[in-house]
Symmetry: C2
Subunit: 349 residues, 2 copies
C-alpha cells in the first residue's frame, strides 16, 4: 500500500510558475514507481490573483492549504511600483501570513558552495552552513503603527516582539541540528544595542547550551557576522538568529555561495501541527518572468528539503546529488526547462 | 592670526589608544606651521574608566566634551564576557549616548576600494560610495523593555522609533551629497515588512527627490542590498538608510573594500549645534590591544574626514593621498606606529 502525501502547490507570481513547474517534474521523476504518491492541489495566489479578485489569502484558502501535508511555493509579489498594487502587501498578506498562521517557527536556510558554482569571493574556502532563522516573531510581527501619517510630524514605529517561548524552541532546534552536524553554533544578534531582545536570546542560548556540551557556542553581532560571511564563511556551521537578521544574512549567504538562484529554504513547523512550506529564497523577479530565463535550481533544492522533511531521505539525497552534478558541469546558458531536463536526466541515469 | 580648533580626544579601550596616537601624529604633521592650531583635551572614557570609577559618561564629561569644536574617538568596549562589565553597557552608555546627545544625525561612512587594498571579492570593480546612516533614531533609540525577565514567560520588545523630522533631515543631507557626487541615491530599507517605518522613509525620499531632479533614485530591500554589495558594489554612489541597516551595511562594505582596518566614519551634526565626532568603524579589539598590531589607517582616515568637516579641504586631501599611496605600496607586516611613520613620511615628502 502506498503512502499518500497531500501537497499544496503555490506557483505564485513572476518566475514562480516556471521554476515550480521544473520542481514538480523533478518531484515526479524521483518518486515515480515508488511507495509514495503525491496528491497535489494547485492554489492560485499572489499578485495576479489579487489583481483579478482583490483577495490576497482568504480564510477558505488558508483552511484548504492547512489540510495538506506540505506546501511547495514558488515566489509571490507583483511588479514593484505597480500602482494597482499600492494598497496590497502581498508579502505581508500572503507569504508572512502563511508563515505566521502555520507557525513556521524554523526558517531553515542551508548554504553550500557547490563545486563549479561561480561565487563572488576570491578565496571562498569550504562553505557549508545552515541558518536557522526564527520565523514567527521579532521585527516581522507587524506590531507597528504611525501617527500624523504623511505630515512633517509623522512618527512611525515598529515593535520587535520576542518571547522566551518562541526563542527557546528555535534555539533548541538549532542545537539539535548542530549536534548532528559539525557541532558548532553561532548566535547572531545585536546584544549591545538591542539589549532586551538580544539579552534574552543570549540567555536562552546559554541555557540550552548546558544540555549540549558537545556543541561549541559562538556569538557574533550581526554587523560582524556579515564581515565573516565574506572573509571566512567556513567558520560557520549552524547560525541561529532572529527573523530580520536571518533574512539579511541568508541573502548574503546566497550571494557568496553562487547566487540566490541556488538558495533553497524550508519554513518548518517541527511540531507537525501545520504543514511545512518549502520555497526558493529568491523572489518573483517580474522583469524576467515568462522568458524561461530563471534558474529553477533553488526550487528543485527546495524539493530536496521537502523530501527530507517528509522522511524520504533517499529521494532527497538523489535530488541533491543530481543538482550537484549538474552545477559541477554547467556551461553556456540554458532555459529554465533545460535545467530541469538536465537534472531529471541525471536522476534517471 | 591662527584659528584655534578645540578638539576632544577619546582614545578609549583596547586598540583605541594605539590607533588614536597615530591619528594625532598625522593631524599634527599635516597642520604644523599652518594657520590652524588644534587645542586638544584628552578624555579617559570607556571600559577601563568604568572599571576604575564606575562611571560611563557623567554629565560633567558630556558638558566638557560639548564645549569642543570636534571629537576624535578611538574605540570603546571591554573584553567581551568580562564579568565585571556585566551590568555596564559601554556601547549604549558612552558611544550611543554621545551620538544621541550631540545629535549626530548623519553617520557618514565612505567606502572606497583603494588600489592595492586586499579585498575578498574576485572581481570587485570600482568601489566608491558613501553610506549616510541615520544616527539618532530607529531601532537604536533604546525604547525596549522586557517582562518576566529570566523566566520561560519572558517577553522582550524593542521599538524602532522613526520621525518625519529625523528622516527628512538625513535624507536631505544624502541628496545634497549625491548631487555633488555621481548623482545616484539608493534608499535601503525593508518596506515590504516594516511597512510603517519603511513607508515613511520611502515617502520622504520620493518627496525630497522632487527637489533634486538631477539625482537618480533607486530603492533596495536591505537583504537585496547585501547581495549587490558583494556582486556589484560599483552600482552604489550614495546609500541612505536607517541606523541598524546602516550599521550592518557599513561593516559589510568595510569588508569588501579591504577590511574594517581601513573604514573611517564621521558622526556629524550638520547644524553645528554640537561638535561632530570622528571614529574608525572598527571596535576596540581587546584581543590584540597593546601589541602594536592594529592598523591605524581607519583612525587616520577619520582625521581626514574631521579636517574636511572643519573646512580644511587641502589638509584633508593631503592625508587621504598619503594613505592612498601607503596602501598602494604595502607589503610585509608593520607595527601600528610603523604605519603611522610611513604615512607621515609621505605627508612630509
Ligand atoms: C518577501 C519577504 C517578505 C521575505 C522576507 O523578508 O522574509 C523574503 O525576503 C525572504 O527572505 O523570504
Ligand atoms: C559599538 C556599536 C554600538 C556600534 C553601532 O552599532 O553603531 C558599532 O557597531 C558601529 O557601527 O559604530
Amino acid at each position: 500500500m502506498s503512502r499518500v502525501v497531500k501537497l499544496a502547490v503555490i506557483p505564485g507570481d513572476g518566475i514562480g510558475p516556471e521554476v515550480v513547474a521544473e520542481a514538480e517534474r523533478v518531484l515526479e521523476a524521483v518518486t515515480v514507481g515508488g511507495d509514495v504518491v503525491f496528491d497535489k492541489t494547485h492554489f492560485s495566489l499572489g499578485a495576479a490573483r489579487y489583481l483579478e479578485t482583490g483577495d490576497t489569502l482568504t480564510d477558505e484558502d488558508l483552511a484548504a492549504i492547512s489540510a495538506h501535508d506540505a506546501i511547495l511555493l514558488g515566489a509571490v509579489g507583483g511588479t514593484p511600483g505597480d500602482p494597482r498594487l499600492k494598497d496590497a502587501n502581498i508579502e505581508r498578506g500572503l507569504l508572512l501570513k502563511l508563515r505566521f498562521t502555520l507557525d513556521h517557527y524554523v526558517n531553515l536556510r542551508p548554504s553550500k558552495l557547490y563545486a563549479g558554482a561561480p561565487g563572488p569571493l576570491a578565496e571562498p574556502g569550504d562553505i557549508d552552513f545552515v541558518v536557522v532563522r526564527e520565523g514567527t516573531e521579532g521585527p516581522y510581527v507587524g506590531n507597528g503603527g504611525a501617527i500624523r501619517t504623511g505630515t512633517p510630524h509623522e512618527i512611525a514605529n515598529e515593535t520587535s516582539v520576542n518571547t522566551a517561548f518562541g526563542v527557546e524552541r528555535v534555539v533548541r532546534y538549532a542545537f539539535e541540528l548542530a549536534a548532528r552536524r559539525r557541532q558548532k553554533l553561532t548566535l547572531v544578534h545585536k546584544t549591545n544595542v538591542l539589549v532586551n531582545a538580544g539579552g534574552m536570546w543570549k540567555r536562552i542560548v546559554d541555557e540550552v547550551a548546558q544540555e549540549h556540551p558537545e556543541v561549541v557556542v559562538d556569538y557574533l553581532h550581526v554587523d560582524a557576522a556579515t564581515i565573516f560571511m565574506v572573509t571566512n564563511p567556513s567558520r560557520f556551521d549552524v547560525i541561529v538568529t532572529d527573523n530580520l537578521f536571518g533574512d539579511i544574512l541568508t541573502d548574503l549567504a546566497g550571494a557568496v555561495t553562487g547566487g540566490i538562484g541556488l538558495a533553497a529554504s524550508g519554513n518548518i513547523n517541527p511540531d507537525g501541527t501545520f504543514p511545512s512550506m518549502f520555497e526558493p529564497v529568491h523572489g518573483s523577479a517580474p522583469d524576467i518572468a515568462g522568458q524561461q530565463k530563471a534558474d529553477p535550481t533553488a526550487a528543485i533544492l527546495s524539493v530536496a528539503l521537502l523530501l527530507d522533511h517528509l522522511g524520504l531521505r533517499d529521494e532527497s539525497d538523489r535530488v541533491t546529488r543530481a543538482v550537484e552534478a549538474d552545477i559541477a558541469d554547467r556551461d553556456g546558458s540554458r532555459t529554465t526547462s533545460q535545467v530541469g531536463d538536465a537534472i531529471i536526466a541525471r536522476l534517471q541515469a
